[in-house]
């Protein structure tokens, strides 16, 4: 990515950003904080004004673009706060001891305190699974519990190398 920076006397600064192919994004940064955005289909075509942002708005939009404002969803990191308890997505390794056991036999709630509230298997989701549901390698358990309970559970889903 190449960025061309130019001073615009009396106005501020102009940044021209190559955004893939021949396309250019032109940002005009005014001294008063206002930002004007233009789009050019190629370096030689006429710029088309996209929109104008105030300084405050531009910082917020900038934070969103940067990913600092709203985190994008990544399934193995999602945590939804529910008071003390949180929901976490846990991968079951192929070689974990609980593979091929039913939920009832694995006695996860008794051993860790955490509950399995759903199982994601490929593109299928098994909601509210019963005790006779068999766990297979590669399942993603949607679990509910405190941080300690979930840490305990995560140690059980790892492959048993011993």
């Amino acid at each position: 990515m190449t960025v061309y920076e130019t001073d615009v006397p009396g106005v501020g600064k102009k940044f021209e950003v190559e955004i893939g192919g021949d396309e250019r994004l032109v940002v005009l940064l005014h001294h008063d904080g206002k930002r004007e955005l233009f789009h050019k289909a190629d370096p030689d075509s006429d710029a088309e004004r996209l929109f104008t942002l105030s300084g405050q708005l531009a910082r917020e939009v900038g934070a969103i673009l940067q990913g600092a404002y709203f985190q994008p969803v990544e399934t193995d990191e999602v945590e939804v706060p529910l008071g003390e308890a949180i929901i976490e997505w846990v991968d079951v390794d192929e070689g974990a001891p609980m593979v091929d056991q039913t939920l009832g036999d694995a006695r996860l709630r008794q051993r860790t305190g955490a509950s399995v509230i759903a199982i994601q298997r490929g593109s299928d989701t098994v909601p509210n699974p019963g005790p006779d549901e068999t766990i297979t390698g590669g399942d993603i358990l949607v679990t509910l519990g405190t941080r300690e309970e979930l840490a305990e559970l995560e140690s059980l889903v790892e492959a048993d190398d011993s």
């Binding site: 130019t6 001073d7 615009v8 006397p9 009396g10 106005v11 501020g12 102009k14 021209e16 032109v26 005009l28 001294h31 008063d32 004007e36 233009f38 050019k40 370096p43 030689d44 006429d46 710029a47 088309e48 004004r49």
Partner: protein, 395 residues
Amino acid sequence: MAALLLEVGIALTAVALAGTLANRVGLSVIPAYIVVGILVGPNPPQSVLGLPLTLVGDREFITVLAELGIVFLLFFLGLEFSVDQLLRDRRRISAAGGVDFAINFGLGAAIGVAFGWTLLETLFLAGVVYISSSAVVTKSLIETGWIANAESGPILGTLVFEDILIAVYLALLAAVAGGGDLESAAVSVGTAFLFLGALTAVAWYGSNWLDRFFRTSSDELFLLRVVGVTTLVAGAALALGVSEAVAAFFLGTGISQTSHVERIEHIVAPARDIFAAVFFFSIGLTTDVTLLADVAVLLAVAVVLTTLGKFVSGTLSGRFYDLGRRRSLRVGLGLVPRGEFSLVIATLAAGIGTGRLASVLPAFTVGYVLVMSVLGSLLIQRADDITDALGASGG
């Protein structure tokens, strides 16, 4: 006191209304400020439909505010003057700026000679018609979106070149016009260069010190320091017979080396806007429109020739930047507006000159700027029609 306050109130309100109106119809505010100054000022028209229209006199406070307008216009010009950009792109900028100067200053000089003006008068006239209006041009560039296109390169480059040239020009002219014979002219040119040299040296070598001097967490104190120092330097310059405008320009370039540029743009620009608006307004106040009749022929000749001059020189400049035909023509159209700096030159002429410089040139310049700022804006707004008509639709 009441009468004075009322006059200030009328003046500022009139300027505000005129600016709003100009904005509404999409034209530059500069001609609007001048026209409203003519309307409410002591010169004709003095009444409309029986209503008296001489509401604001040419008072001392207006003269002082207008003078501050000149000082801060040039101070900001210096502040925003990008030495780096000039050096980085010096080959193309000097090519474009050189052609622009040769054609347009040359045309102005030729017009002066053809109308039988003296050398000094001709030099002033050439300056007035040479320099484009940074304010009007930049505003038009943003409104049309050209600012994001390739044609903004030669346009802004030419403006940068004109900025530095006008500083040198004003310094020389102010010094020469003040003195009578060759010897006193040489002395005043020497004084000017000593003063400006000292100012530049302080600004360059003392930039750390300047930086510390302006450093404060209070916006109020910051504003006072910038306005105070700038006005003091300009006043000292004028007392020594050096152009206050050029001193302000050099102070601005000096401060542009410090870390305060952004803050000045934020905090001092509103003060500049008020002073500059009053400057344009006061130009209107002192303009006697009946004098325009005497300069009608000169005005018509200058408008036609110098519009074509900028159009040709700009189009050539576009070629130096390897632009296509249509974009080059846009550069030509984009540089047509004249404005604030032509008026600064005319004010200088009126202040020091006699004869034509004191009456004809200011009247001519007002008429010229009124026409060129409006005509220039319109040409830019209608640029696509013009380039299509010239058969340059592509590139």
